[in-house]
């Protein structure tokens, strides 16, 4: 009679073997593109990884902390602007600008989070949107940094280490390394005490408080961390496109990030990565075929949400359940 024991949803295993395989495959990409004379796609791949990083940061608060931030594009933008503004004033070192970008992102997130976390649910969604819009319009009004036009960067950051970031392959490897590192750190964090608390809050905030956890503090720390990671993604993005503009901070961008995470799987460790890659890949492919690509993109998204309500990563589980139900069904026939 008793239900089968179910696996704990608090665990998010990195699954080292597949992870390393994926990493190896990703590392092989640039040479593959070069060999086939498609080196343009190295840039596309960098971009996907950067968005995967951003989506992972969003998934940290959204999927594991239950905080639906509708303003993450603002943190990306703040990271990008940090790099852009520093470059305009002559500092091109990545060792200065990237950490500083994270700091700026963390600071913005801390302030925004401190106020927004007073609210819950959809109110939280909207208040994060509000703050993101304020930052957006702030950048629009800052004429010295290009205002609505944005600013073009003259070069990519200097990293040293014998790497030339203006080389697309080098840049790609750096992005990959950054992504892998952050991803690993996030995985550790989720399985550590902090991660359990964060997920406990997502499940039942009141109970967490009654158990003696300082809910607000944990949420704020998670939000701040997430802001820092998003800003790092922004710093990379500014480098990737050599261009920074408020357009990257618009609510529609925050929305896109949300869609990526939902597509991949909210609360799945690999949700951000898979979602970002799947989304951008679809876009890349569809744009090539038809000007009405949004129609098909919409159709695919709708299909995904209908068959795999919890994102692509929930698909295997759903299929397994279907299969089991089918196997179980005939057994019920006999009296």
């Amino acid at each position: 009679m008793p239900a089968l024991p179910s696996a704990s949803i608090l665990d998010h295993r990195l699954q080292p073997v597949p992870a390393l395989l994926v990493l190896a495959a990703l590392a092989a990409l640039p040479s593959l593109f070069e060999a086939t004379d498609y080196d343009f796609y190295t840039g596309v791949a960098s971009r996907m990884l950067i968005f995967a990083l951003a989506a992972t940061s969003l998934n940290l608060v959204l999927g594991f902390g239950g905080m639906v931030s509708f303003g993450h594009a603002a943190f990306i933008g703040m990271g990008a602007y940090t790099v852009g503004i520093l470059m305009q004033s002559g500092s091109t070192s990545a060792w200065l600008s990237w950490p500083l970008a994270m700091l700026v992102g963390a600071l913005c997130a801390a302030v925004i989070g401190a106020i927004s976390l007073r609210t819950r649910g959809v109110y939280f969604i909207m208040i994060t949107l509000a703050f993101a819009q304020m930052l957006f319009y702030l950048m629009v009004s800052l004429k010295p940094y290009g205002g609505e036009d944005g600013m073009s960067l003259m070069q990519r950051s200097d990293l040293g280490l014998g790497l030339d970031l203006s080389n697309d392959s080098h840049f790609y490897y750096v992005v990959l390394a950054v992504f892998a590192l952050v991803f690993w750190a996030v995985a550790r964090l989720l399985n550590a005490r902090f991660g359990h608390v964060l997920q406990g809050i997502r499940e039942n905030e009141t109970r967490m408080r009654a158990l003696g956890f300082a809910v607000y503090r944990y949420q704020l720390v998670a939000f701040t961390l997430s802001g820092a990671i998003a800003a790092l993604a922004g710093a990379l993005l500014a480098n990737q496109s050599s261009y920074v503009s408020p357009a990257a901070m618009q609510w529609s961008q925050s929305g896109m990030l949300l869609i990526m995470v939902i597509l991949g799987g909210v609360g799945y460790l690999y949700g951000g990565l898979l979602g970002a890659v799947a989304f951008l890949l679809m876009e890349e492919v569809l744009i090539g075929y038809t000007i009405h690509w949004q129609l098909y993109l919409g159709a695919v998204l709708l299909l995904v949400v209908l068959v795999a309500p919890n994102g692509l990563l929930s698909l295997p589980r759903t299929l397994r359940r279907c299969a089991r139900a089918r196997r179980a069904a005939p057994a019920q026939e006999k009296p």
């Binding site: 959204l62 639906v68 106020i115 007073r118 609210t119 819950r120 959809v122 109110y123 909207m126 208040i127 949107l129 509000a130 703050f131 819009q133 304020m134 319009y137 702030l138 629009v140 009004s141 004429k143 205002g147 609510w251 529609s252 929305g255 949300l258 869609i259 939902i262 597509l263 909210v266 009405h292 690509w293 949004q294 129609l295 993109l297 919409g298 159709a299 695919v300 998204l301 709708l302 995904v304 949400v305 209908l306 309500p309 919890n310």
Partner: protein, 306 residues
């Protein structure tokens, strides 16, 4: 002269606010009562406007267009609800976001394919095309006055419907606890369909009424959808009263901000800084308003669910 300006701005704010209310009312009902985050709400607004504009152009009558287009949107809303939206009721908010976002993308593209990328033309009925002289020296657009009247009418009807009728109660009950409402004998399915269609009708009405002022174009739903969400949240989710107040607040603040802030800034700082900072600040005013409201009242002005 100055009082006239202020009065006119008040009317503008009122008109804009009431239109926002039409959208926000549907949104807050669908959202607060059916617990469905419907990003495609703006698409219904767009589709309504397109249908109304098309029928009005074909028949040459704005009124016929408004009536038939609204009816057509209602049918469209029903079809949409029965085929897709219905599947999202039991889902969490995030799948709703993605599902309705997908619908939004498809609606935009479909409209572009059917009607082309150029905006459609929808003119106000001749009788309302010009200005009226409210009192000597004060002219105001007759059409905008008409919108104000319509908005107030809808607000009154809605309020009674939701708070005073048993249907309204059952719908609210179904929202908070669908299973229990079913167990009490409510036909939640049809209640929700009805409510969704009702929201679609309000959308179409807003689209048709705003069409002659704004352009009927692809993507017209998105920016206004965000505003409608702002209104809903300021007012308190699920509260019609809140939606009305929030809409008026947003309408007035936005209008006032656009006129007053640049003037203020021009007096305070160098003209070129004022020229760029003024409009930017005016744009964030409603977001500041929302953030401030939520800071002091984290569940909006009239939280419907205690």
């Amino acid at each position: 002269m100055n009082t006239i300006l202020i009065l006119e701005q008040l009317l503008n704010g009122l008109q804009f606010g009431l239109m926002l209310f039409l959208l926000a009312a549907g949104l807050t009902l669908v959202f607060g009562i059916m617990d469905l985050i419907n990003l495609a709400h703006g698409s219904l607004y767009m589709l309504g406007a397109y249908l109304i504009a098309t029928i009005a152009a074909a028949s040459g009558s704005f009124w016929l267009g408004l009536a038939a287009g609204t009816a057509a949107t209602a049918v469209l809303g029903l079809v949409l609800e029965k085929t897709t939206i219905q599947r999202f009721y039991k889902r969490d908010h995030l799948s709703q976001v993605m599902g309705t976002f997908a619908i939004l993308l498809m609606a935009n593209e479909a409209v572009r394919m059917i009607w082309g990328p150029q905006p459609l033309q929808l003119s106000p009925p001749d009788a309302l095309a010009g200005p009226v002289e409210l009192w000597p020296g004060f002219f105001y657009s007759a059409y905008r006055l008409f919108i104000i009247a319509m908005g107030l009418l809808v607000a009154a009807v809605l309020y009674v419907l939701i708070t005073r009728t048993r249907i309204g109660m059952q719908v609210r009950a179904g929202a908070s606890n669908r299973e229990m409402a079913l167990a009490m004998g409510a036909n939640v399915r049809w209640l929700f369909s009805g409510l969704f269609v009702f929201g679609a009708v309000l959308c179409a009405l807003a689209g048709g009424l705003l069409g002659p002022l704004l352009s009927v174009q692809v993507g017209m739903g998105e920016s206004i959808l965000i505003l409608a969400f702002v209104v809903v949240v300021i007012g308190g989710i699920g509260s019609i009263r809140g939606a009305l107040l929030g809409a008026l607040l947003v309408g007035l603040v936005d209008t006032a901000g656009r006129t007053l802030i640049p003037v203020l800034f021009r007096q305070l700082m160098a003209p070129d800084i004022a020229a760029s900072a003024g409009p930017a600040v005016a744009s964030i005013l409603i977001y500041v308003l929302m953030a401030a409201v939520l800071f002091f009242k984290p569940s909006g002005l009239f939280p419907a669910r205690g």
